[in-house]
């Protein structure tokens, strides 16, 4: 079943379009990666899908319902969450408070969900009363993902979750992404770390200069010599 579809998106900042006529889709339980060189428009694509940027053209549908032009706080209530690349935690709040903020729109009892998120990230439970500002980069990334999961989303958008992390932590974060996916969340992940990402992805899209230049299964992209040479650094 299709959970997210973006058709012919053209978008950017102000008058300047960065993204040109890009279409992507995401099925239930999939991990789909968006890779490509710096400045290819990967983050712009995620921000447009999540309503932070308004597309000048194109349509976005979440679980069959059009969400084009809706603001992020509306979209988050419809079952899609987003983790920005930088500044993705509330540093002066504790871990638990960060997670509670992820559940802000919930008026029901979300204690069970909190325990489920802690089960995914046991380390966070251990340190739940610690201020997030004092955590390391990898731990912050876990808080950011945990926060986004509090609404029990159908779709999760991750913007470069491995950026500026040590190699060992990169591996751990990718394992967590797979764990999250196994709980039934479909994931779109934007990454510079193309090869590692494709290994865990069902499908992938390659963007360059704001256009979609290639799409295939994760495995096929990894095996494609030409794409590898042009976009994945040989």
């Amino acid at each position: 079943m299709r959970v997210l579809e973006a058709r012919n998106l053209t978008s950017g900042y102000g008058e300047t379009d960065i993204l040109h006529d890009v279409s992507i889709k995401l099925d239930e339980k999939e991990i789909v990666s968006i890779i490509g060189p710096n400045g290819a428009g990967k983050s712009t694509l995620l921000k447009t899908i999540f309503g932070i940027l308004r597309p000048s053209q194109g349509v976005i549908e979440l679980q069959g319902e059009e969400i084009t032009g809706l603001s992020p706080d509306k979209i988050v209530r419809k079952g899609m969450s987003y983790v920005p690349q930088v500044d993705n935690v509330f540093p002066s709040l504790t871990i638990q408070e960060n997670l509670e903020m992820g559940a802000f729109v919930r008026t029901d009892d979300y204690r069970d969900r909190l325990q489920e998120v802690y089960a995914l990230f046991p380390l966070l439970k251990e340190r739940r009363n610690q201020k997030v500002g004092s955590l390391s980069g990898g731990q912050r990334q876990m808080v950011a993902m945990g926060r986004a999961l509090m609404l029990d989303p159908k779709v999760l958008l991750l913007d470069e979750p491995s950026a500026s992390l040590a190699p060992l932590l990169v591996e751990m974060i990718f394992e967590k992404i797979v764990d999250i996916n196994k709980t039934g969340v479909a994931i779109v992940v934007v990454e510079q770390n193309a090869r590692e990402t494709l290994k865990i992805s069902d499908r992938g899209y390659v963007l360059a200069m704001g256009r979609k230049v290639f799409e295939d299964t994760g495995k096929a992209i990894l095996e494609n010599k030409e794409v590898g040479k042009l976009y994945l650094g040989g």
């Binding site: 999540f50 603001s71 992020p72 903020m101």
Partner: protein, 304 residues
């Protein structure tokens, strides 16, 4: 000297009430509200009107509590006046600042509009109550309580300290325990992330103005009880308010509390060596020294 320090703490706790509101608003909107001092004036005069105008007319008796200089009239007027200032403060944002924010006006435009708002509030007070100093009970000085170290303190001042302490504890509990309080801290940390988390940041902004206004109003009322009322009182408070805010680290509520106390003590102690008319200069000097030596404030805050 010990007595001056005690009086400084009394004055400082009033400054702190104003500074906390100033710093809360700054933390969330990155906006220095120059009209904040005049919200204190508004609170003082709304309470004054209720106690000396409306309540006698309604027939509420003019009793006093124990050895305090006021009674039921003030006890009723206090929360009502705080609520009124909260409303004034929220309206000020909705009518004036918010449209400018949405138009992405520069900080100079916002500062000028805040300055304009402060003039408007002050002039309304001067038109309605004139330019004379007002007192709740002219000529009546309640006996002071004698404490060790030759400290004389009036029961009103002890009451004042207890009120400030209660308000600060309530605010602390609100910020730490309630959903809206946590959302305020989150929004102050990162408004963009608050939005993508689904936090209704507009509601957070309204709460921030309401709480900031109510606290400023309380500060003004207390100053009116302790000293006197005047249309320019809030404007005179503006300098120590900013000094206290910067001292504690802009956006840091607990810093503003300490900053307020330090400013109050510094101003009162200075009167042992300088004419009392130099008090504002003391606030100004402290502010300049902090900006030169430690612009992020003693406890650290956010940079503009």
């Amino acid at each position: 000297m010990a007595e001056l320090i005690v009086y400084g703490i009394v004055l400082g706790s009033i400054i702190a009430l104003g500074a906390i509101g100033l710093t809360l608003v700054y933390g969330i909107l990155r906006f220095a509200n120059f009209a904040h001092g005049d919200l204190m004036t508004a609170g003082a005069f709304i309470a004054f009107f209720l106690v000396t105008g409306l309540f006698p007319w309604l027939g509420i008796p003019d009793t006093t509590f124990g050895s305090l200089s006021f009674g039921w009239r003030m006890a009723l007027a206090f929360p009502i006046a705080m609520a009124c200032v909260a409303v004034v403060s929220i309206l000020l944002d909705r009518i004036l600042y918010r449209p400018l924010r949405l138009k992405r006006s520069g900080s100079v435009i916002l500062a000028m509009s805040a300055l304009g708002a402060s003039f408007i509030i002050r002039m309304i007070v001067l038109i309605l109550w004139g330019a004379d100093y007002r007192l709740y009970r002219p000529g009546v000085l309640r006996p002071a309580i004698q404490l060790p170290l030759e400290i004389k303190i009036r029961p009103d001042q002890i009451f004042l300290l207890l009120v400030v302490l209660t308000l600060v504890i309530l605010l602390y509990l609100f910020l730490q325990r309630t959903k809206m309080g946590k959302a305020m801290r989150a929004t102050s940390d990162n408004m963009e992330l608050a939005r993508v988390s689904g936090i209704d940041t507009e509601r957070v902004i309204i709460w921030t103005w309401g709480i900031g206004g109510a606290l400023a109003g309380a500060g003004g009322i207390l100053y009116g009880i302790d000293v006197q009322l005047h249309g320019g009182m809030g404007w005179n408070f503006l300098l120590p308010l900013f000094a206290a805010t910067i001292l504690g680290g802009i956006g840091n509520m607990y810093g503003a509390l300490i900053g307020g106390l330090v400013m109050g003590v510094a101003q009162q102690v200075s009167t042992a060596y300088l004419l009392p008319t130099y008090k504002p200069a003391v606030a100004f000097i402290v502010m300049i020294v902090i900006l030169l030596v430690r612009p992020q404030g003693i406890f650290g805050g956010r940079r503009a």
